[in-house]
Symmetry: C2
Subunit: 403 residues, 2 copies
């Protein structure tokens, strides 16, 4: 290889993407390869100050192979879903070049990529890191190859729920009807600035065992649960309309109740799966009881829970109730030490709980049931990181540090 080729500049872009939490749940595919869902879903994008994936993509003529490092460890680039995303982005870039799109930087279209990605939260938090991860990958690849426009359909092919992490705020994934999946896309319902009072708490539950993965879980559910089929066909369409309306009107009780009902119905279809799947453990059940008793005590719906395919609760509430509810959780799930480590993220004021409230809730405390709380809010979609010092890859195209 001539020396001048080796000197070719490596092109490098770093982006971040958010985690999202579904309030109308996605569970079950009608097409496994294209990742087409059996129903539409709706999610809230969490703020990247607390939870995000950061990805650097480098392209260079000097790279011999496509390679990927996830959280400091090199992984197999041959993973079919990774390959889908790489292939689709390159196809789109090629198509744009051939169409003669203005300003397209087609450098490197035939070169190999190095990808490096890290999360700022532990995998143990059980948050759907694949959604943030694939959204970030697709967004960053698109920047590198100069692709613009609709990208959620590509992110979807990495991980279904990743398509919803392509936007900030409140996002719906419209299931679509066509066989090729071209109309199965995410769409922003309202931006992250729409409902500033809405606050989010992630309650990381101590888990006794590793739950069934969502990919195989939803396959089994589609094959065996007749309640899931009914839910997808006859329940979710109406709920999507109701949820969009609740979000638009910032109607917290309506939003909260529908969120809780939909979480419960998703877990009900897991239980109707054969063999049944349990994602809610005794801590989750106690969080559910706590929320209902808290709301009952005040005679209004002030707090809502939702659970994905794991035991951790995501709590929605309004700003004026955050501090009290955090202390309610701390009281009924007394942590090992009462240090500041229990509450991470956005600051939470101290609040003393009244005896009346504690007695009104009337649950037996469950020590160490909740490991910690992440306090966060609704946040924006993927962003480019302009500061080159933040790149995760060094100029030689290898990770700066192996964790």
């Amino acid at each position: 290889m001539p020396a001048k080729d080796k000197m070719d500049k490596t092109k490098m872009v770093t982006c971040t993407a958010p985690v999202n939490i579904a309030v109308i749940k996605y569970w079950g595919k009608r097409n496994e390869e294209l990742i087409l869902p059996i129903n539409s879903s709706l999610s809230v994008t969490l703020h990247q100050d607390q939870l995000k994936t950061t990805t650097t993509v480098a392209v260079s003529r000097s790279f011999q192979d496509d390679r990927i490092w996830l959280n400091g460890k090199e992984e197999d680039i041959a993973h079919p879903r990774l390959q889908s995303c790489l292939r689709e982005i390159r196809r789109l870039a090629r198509k744009r070049r051939n169409d003669g799109a203005a300003g397209l930087d087609s450098t490197g279209l035939s070169h190999k990529v190095h990808i490096c990605s890290v999360n700022n939260f532990p995998t143990a938090a059980g948050l759907a890191s694949s959604a943030a991860g694939f959204a970030c990958l697709v967004y960053t690849l698109a920047q590198v190859f100069g692709v613009e426009g609709e990208l959620s359909g590509i992110a979807r092919q990495g991980s279904g729920s990743a398509c919803r992490s392509m936007y900030g705020g409140f996002v719906q994934w419209i299931m679509g009807n066509t066989d090729d999946g071209k109309d199965s896309l995410a769409q922003q319902v309202e931006p992250e600035t729409h409902w500033p009072e809405l606050q989010i708490l992630v309650l990381v539950a101590s888990a006794e065992r590793k739950p069934v993965g969502s990919t195989s879980g939803m396959q089994t559910s589609v094959q065996t649960s007749c309640l899931l089929k009914h839910r997808a066909e006859s329940v979710v369409p109406g709920r999507m309309v109701e949820m969009i309306e609740a979000v638009r009107k910032k109607d917290f009780p309506a939003f909260a109740e529908l969120t809780m009902k939909d979480s419960n119905q998703f877990h009900a279809t897991c239980l109707d799966t054969y063999p049944p799947i349990f994602y809610l453990n005794r801590v989750s059940q106690q969080v559910i009881n706590l929320v209902h008793r808290y709301n009952r005590h005040y005679g209004e719906t002030r707090v809502a829970y939702t659970f994905d395919a794991g035991p951790n609760a995501v709590i929605f509430t309004l700003r004026q109730h955050v501090s009290e509810f955090v202390h309610v959780v701390q009281h009924f799930f007394p942590p090992e030490t009462n240090g500041g480590d229990f509450i991470k993220g956005l600051p939470v004021n101290h609040t003393a709980l009244s005896e009346e409230l504690k007695q009104g809730i009337g649950l037996e405390p469950m020590p160490k049931g909740v490991s910690y709380i992440i306090s966060t809010k609704v946040g924006p979609g993927p962003c480019v990181v302009e500061d080159p010092s933040q790149h995760l890859l060094a100029s030689d195209g290898l990770p700066k540090e192996c964790v």
Copy 2:
């Protein structure tokens, strides 16, 4: 009152009635007062040698009021469901007397009754004691008043599932269609002698808290769960046909799988209720996992579970597998002491478990999760106890012993 009246002979009858366990579950009423269900159900009657209610009814001109003692404690006879049963039996007796039925002993129709009832199993066992209790009450009252024929419609008005305890063997409760409930009756599908290989184990789980009662639980489910409505209307009718066929053919795998699926679906509808109801605790979840892993190890369905509105499992298996499975339970739920107290009821042979089986199941043991096991089988319906020494009431009409 003249002395001769006081001398009038007290008429006394003692009967026993069985517990039943539903394999197609009843959950939800379309008429609360008449106790008319939203779907048909099917149960297996458990043997009275292990689990039964015994009831003595006495009638005497000298009694001033109707009175009832349950498990040694006097209870309020004004309870509406008790009153329904008393009223309906007396109405039937009066009708038969007016119709001039041959051999009818109409003595005492205008007299008051004393009722005394005990279970031979602890209420803590969480077995639907109200089914056995109301079945026994109605059956005994009918004997006292000389009423014959169809009685399940009256037992149903005491407690829905009590109608199924009016027969032995395999019993369906046909939901019926009429508003007056006259066609909502139990019917024997096959007698207790039909499938002698079928054996039953009740796994009494250590419970952390008292679950939601079934009466209020099913009301909330009917009001809030859209999955329950779908189940009742569109799933259960087909399952009733399949279950009756599996029982008739003694097809254990078909019977077992449908039993497990229906139990899971019932609990799924509880979770789809708002607020959600949890009857399965972590012990129940572990029993479910154990059964599926045991079956998977052998590549065939040898054992099935079903759970009513509580954490205790009822296990079905065939005679040749009882001993091994009991020891599997004992291994994965190590009791406090390994004494004989862990296994009650029908004798169970000792079996050594192979390492291969233990490793094939591969679960973490959960010490003291199961308090004890009751080993039993399919049994007959209500019976008259001929031995007068077994009466629970003394000749003065008061309980022989107050516990």
